[in-house]
């Protein structure tokens, strides 16, 4: 998937600038402006500051009216539309399709995403990612082993069809 490739490329390009791209710096302000323009146009980004786009089929989960980060609720309509906004397709229906079309990161839809850190709203996701701020928690939320064990389940039952 092209977007996965763009994500990897952006990550690789920004990594060397980790020291400049510090939280609360001028560089972060510049990044915020870039993210706002870029991601808002392409993904309708809500600037949660802890982007998990690549784990959600390159569709922004924060556009779900219930802000769900771990999958669709039980209210999805039979036509695949949203319970809250009947005129729009359920964000998670799009995420599932996007994840199926994402060979590299699609399985990450199985990860158990931690609660949103509301303090990071309107900060730069890239800066937070480079400095590990977006995943920082005081408790062990999910181990890498568990993530690795869950990921294969995503493709498992599809191959049989």
């Amino acid at each position: 998937m092209l977007l996965e490739w763009i994500y990897d490329l952006t990550h690789a390009l920004l990594k060397p600038f980790k020291r400049i791209l510090k939280p609360n710096s001028f560089a972060e302000k510049a990044m915020i402006a870039i993210e706002k323009v870029g991601k808002e146009v392409v993904f309708d980004c809500q600037m949660c500051g802890q982007c998990i786009l690549h784990s959600t089929g390159m569709v922004c989960s924060m556009n779900c009216p219930k802000n769900l980060r771990n999958g669709p609720c039980g209210g999805v309509r039979l036509n695949g539309h949203c319970e809250v906004k009947p005129e729009q397709t359920c964000v998670w229906v799009k995420i599932y399709e996007g994840s199926l079309a994402s060979p590299k990161y699609g399985g990450e839809m199985m990860w158990i995403q931690p609660p949103v850190n509301r303090k990071l709203q309107d900060s730069s996701s890239w800066v937070n990612l480079l400095h590990g701020i977006d995943q920082k928690m005081k408790t062990v939320w999910q181990t890498q082993d568990e993530k690795d064990a869950l990921e294969p389940i995503f493709r498992g039952s599809n191959e049989k069809e």
């Binding site: 009216p65 219930k66 802000n67 769900l68 980060r69 771990n70 999958g71 669709p72 609720c73 039980g74 209210g75 999805v76 309509r77 039979l78 695949g80 319970e83 809250v84 359920c90 998670w92 229906v93 599932y96 399709e97 839809m109 199985m110 158990i112 995403q113 931690p114 609660p115 949103v116 509301r118 928690m137 005081k138 408790t139 062990v140 939320w141 999910q142 568990e146 869950l150 389940i153 995503f154 498992g156 039952s157 599809n158 049989k160 069809e161």
Partner: protein, 317 residues
């Protein structure tokens, strides 16, 4: 699931014993009268291993699920405390979980919750600080690691039997079994499903669930319930989020004379119970008979659930 310490939940004991479990849902009063709760529970208690107290389902305000559960424990009934993410943030929810356990509530059902727009106060602020899976994982962390999300210690045991909901009947269908896997990983030990009216769809879901071996890791209770009339079915189908009623059932009700529709709705319910009971990996049923709770006893009797010996195991182990 079987590795965990016992929560002292009666529902858990029943499920562990292999007996086919029955849970039901209490109609929450719009009063401040404890007697209303007792009366509503009395109709169900004789047949049920657990009574769910809904957390303002459909986003309509009633007596809170926490209070109903507390009242139920006073009279010795076994409540299932439904806790939704719609109305409370993580601070309130973690505190409520402690309080619930302190009051003797042992079963927790973690759900996302219907949006406020479904209810009669659509101007309310939707919270959704957690989603249901985050809520489950947090509750499990509190119980097993004995810490709050902040890392701060909890100073006592927290005996809880953790549950979640599942809706196999809405898109994306293939995702639904994977979502169950996620909920089990997050901490779910039992599942109560949305109303099952489409048995074929449910069989396909359970096939996927068994392929993943999930039926051996979590107790699945199928949601069932009697449709009161064609009109009521039509309302549920169009106005209540997440309920799917196939055309055949709608037709069957429509063809029935009005005065016999309630009876027919009950018959449909018992038929569905008998069908889902035969599906491998089903641990029980969750009977939701909103405003016709008096029918639960008849449904249990007529669907043959009074003989609840384990299917695959010999009784008396």
């Amino acid at each position: 699931m079987k590795k965990n310490k016992s929560s002292m939940s009666q529902l858990e004991q029943v499920l562990k014993s292999g007996r086919f479990a029955i849970t039901s849902e209490l109609n929450p009063p719009d009063s401040a009268d404890a007697e209303d709760v007792n009366r509503a529970a009395m109709i169900l208690a004789g047949f049920c291993d657990g009574i769910n107290a809904v957390d303002a389902s459909g986003a309509n305000c009633h007596m809170s699920s926490m209070s109903i559960c507390a009242l139920l424990t006073r009279v010795g009934y076994e409540p299932v405390y439904q806790i939704s993410c719609r109305d409370r943030n993580r601070i309130a929810i973690q505190g409520d979980i402690l309080g619930a356990a302190a009051m003797g509530i042992r079963n927790l059902l973690c759900i996302t919750g219907d949006d406020v727009s479904a209810g009669d106060q659509p101007g309310a602020k939707p919270v959704f600080d957690f989603d249901s899976i985050q809520l489950l994982r947090t509750a499990r962390m509190m119980r097993d690691e004995r810490v709050f999300l902040s890392g701060r210690k909890i100073t006592s045991e927290l005996p809880l039997f953790l549950g979640a909901a599942a809706n196999p009947f809405v898109p994306p269908y293939d995702w639904r079994s994977k979502r169950l896997a996620k909920k089990v990983a997050a901490g779910a030990q039992f599942i109560q499903t949305q109303y099952c009216f489409d048995v074929d769809r449910f069989k396909e879901y359970m096939r996927q669930v068994r392929d993943m071996g999930l039926h051996e890791q979590v107790y699945i209770l199928v949601g069932v319930g009697p449709l009161r009339s064609y009109g009521a079915a039509n309302f549920m189908r169009t106005k209540v989020p997440g309920i799917v009623i196939p055309d055949e059932i709608m037709d069957r009700l429509k063809k029935t004379p009005k005065e016999r529709q309630q009876e027919e709705g009950k018959n449909i319910c018992t038929e569905i119970i008998q069908q889902v009971r035969e599906i491998e990996g089903i641990a029980g049923v969750h009977i939701m008979a909103y405003r016709q709770e008096e029918l639960v006893a008849e449904i249990v009797r007529e669907s043959g659930l009074l003989e609840r010996k384990p299917k695959s195991q010999k009784a008396g182990i």
